[in-house]
């Protein structure tokens, strides 16, 4: 199911992103930003799905999606409010969202989730055993 949703998103978002580049619609910029932020997450969801499901990786992927989309919406809402808006971590909030939210937070989230789930979901010992068995069978068959 998750895999189908990811593929459907990619299949629909790709032409939409393409068209938005040429269309001066009022919501074009916002829609473009939202689709772009969702695109890499959809690619990951498509790739990690086994038998169509992302399993326990669903939660971190949803977290990444919410983080990136939230950051995009935040930066859009804070446009033009550098001097009169709030500051965080030594930067105007929009810049802080960009640097801490889009840059640094995904590093920890993605790299750690990948490492911590690698043995159970990315490349399991049984996957390597299966591949090894296939190679041995192929060798035996000449």
């Amino acid at each position: 199911m998750a895999r189908r949703i990811a593929l459907l998103f990619l299949a629909l978002a790709s032409p939409l992103i393409l068209v938005l580049n040429f269309m001066p619609w009022p919501v074009a910029e916002t829609l473009f930003a939202v689709l772009v932020m969702g695109y890499p997450v959809a690619l990951i969801a498509m790739a990690v799905a086994r038998q169509g499901r992302v399993g326990p990786l669903g939660l971190p992927l949803l977290g990444l999606l919410i983080l990136l989309e939230g950051c995009a919406v935040g930066m859009l809402l804070l446009r033009g409010r550098v001097l009169d808006g709030p500051w965080f971590g030594g930067l105007p909030l929009a810049a802080a969202i960009q640097l801490y939210g889009v840059w640094l937070a995904p590093l920890l989230l993605v790299a750690l989730v990948y490492a911590l789930t690698f043995d159970r979901f990315a490349l399991r010992q049984e996957d390597l055993d299966r591949l090894g068995q296939f190679l041995r069978d192929r060798e035996d068959d000449g």
């Binding site: 269309m23 990951i44 810049a95 993605v110 690698f118 591949l131 190679l135």
Partner: protein
Amino acid sequence: MPILDKPAIVWTAIIYLALVVVIGFWAARRTRSAKDFFIAGQGIGLVVTGLATMSAAFSGFVFIGGPGLTYSMGLASMFICIPVSFTAGLLCWVVAKRLRLLAGVREIYTVPDVIYCRYRSRLASGLAATAVLVGTVGYLGAQLQALGILIEAIFGTRGPLGEWSLAVAMALGLLVVVFYATAGGMVAGVYTDLFQGTLMVGAAIAVFLYALKAGGGLEPMARTIAESDRFGPGHLDPLGAVPVFMAMGFFLVFAVGTLGQPHMLHKFFMLDDPRKLKWVPLVVGGTQTLCVLIWLGIGLAVPSLVVVGRLAPLGNPDEASPQFLLGFVPEVLGGLVFAGILAAIMSTADSFVNIGSAALIRDLPKAFGRQVSDELFWGRVAVVGIAVSAAVFAYLYGDLIALLGTFAFGTFGAALGPALAVGLNWRRVTAAAAAASIATGMGVNLVLEFLAKQAFFEGLPRPPFQAGVLPAAVSLAASFTVLFVVTWATGRRRPPEIDEDVAVVMDL
């Protein structure tokens, strides 16, 4: 740049170049087969793979062009580099596992090899090899051009050599790269990358700290910039100062486009054990993030120093890094950073001479149903041929090569990204869809980039984009769209046939 007045910088550069040559000699003794030459014998460990991937991905642009871009257009430019925090994870989840496992069941040295295995299509792999060659000429030419300019500046060859200065400087840089890339192939490439990557990370961290010190800290720098008339608050507004299509376009191209970069993907074939992929996102993403600190640090420090009058306004934004390094860091560190910039340029160049060589003597002949008999020998010949051709081309047609260099990343991303990212994970993608996607990505990107930036022919129309749209973003979206549409059109009745070993890898 009065670098000659700073002997520590000159000596650091000389020592750096000598060390690279020594690594080349050492690697030459370990290169005995085509497998050694093209994928370092598939015997590279985690740290070397991680740092080699990072240093190959980052050219001199991160050290010079990036801070210059932040000086001129503000924080919106950071959307080019901030995807590095998760692109290593994206690569590992989406393509790396399958690339590495495929390299274990087949003789795979290159991205076009993968395309051929997956789609059993000589057309698709031939188009992929063509895209690799086109992008290589641009990328490599731009790196050699930058290498020549930097060597010229460091050693001050302009005065004594006059109009021959750039040619001699390029030749010197070319000689070093060609020596170690020819003698040691990818073994030399990855071990020089390890040395170069370490140098880049160390230099970036140190310069970031000096940038914070020079500007008085992050918040004082930011407030100085935001309250100034010269730069203003828009400088720190990521989506406020430039069109959203440009800022988010950067993010799309440099996040998703990473999936098609052969100089990064190539490194996954070399990993000695696929289980070591576990820590690759942390090593690559972490070191890339540390390297990007130099971009952020100088990009914010220089505008604030200009506002307070400690630096003169820059005539050319690319002067931001050299001006800061010459005026605000100790001479020895400046020397290390200039060596780091040389390292960044050379590590990208060595990857491309190897990849271009493989495309020329391995992938293109295979696309025509032929095989070169002694790939190691001809691979070495091709390295020399490609490097010299790219250097001559860059010297004679500097403007054109600079243009090609700027859109090489987009060409790779649009041409190769969709066919690999979707095709390695979804069985229904057909060979026709892959070939159409690769041709679309390459063709649309070349045409749109040329029309958008060319100044050679008056009267040629500009692409009818909205303001700020990046041609690479358009071509990437077009390539994905074509992949899905042609898959739907050609794969509805009968799913494509996939070789059993490739199918096993795709199912894991």
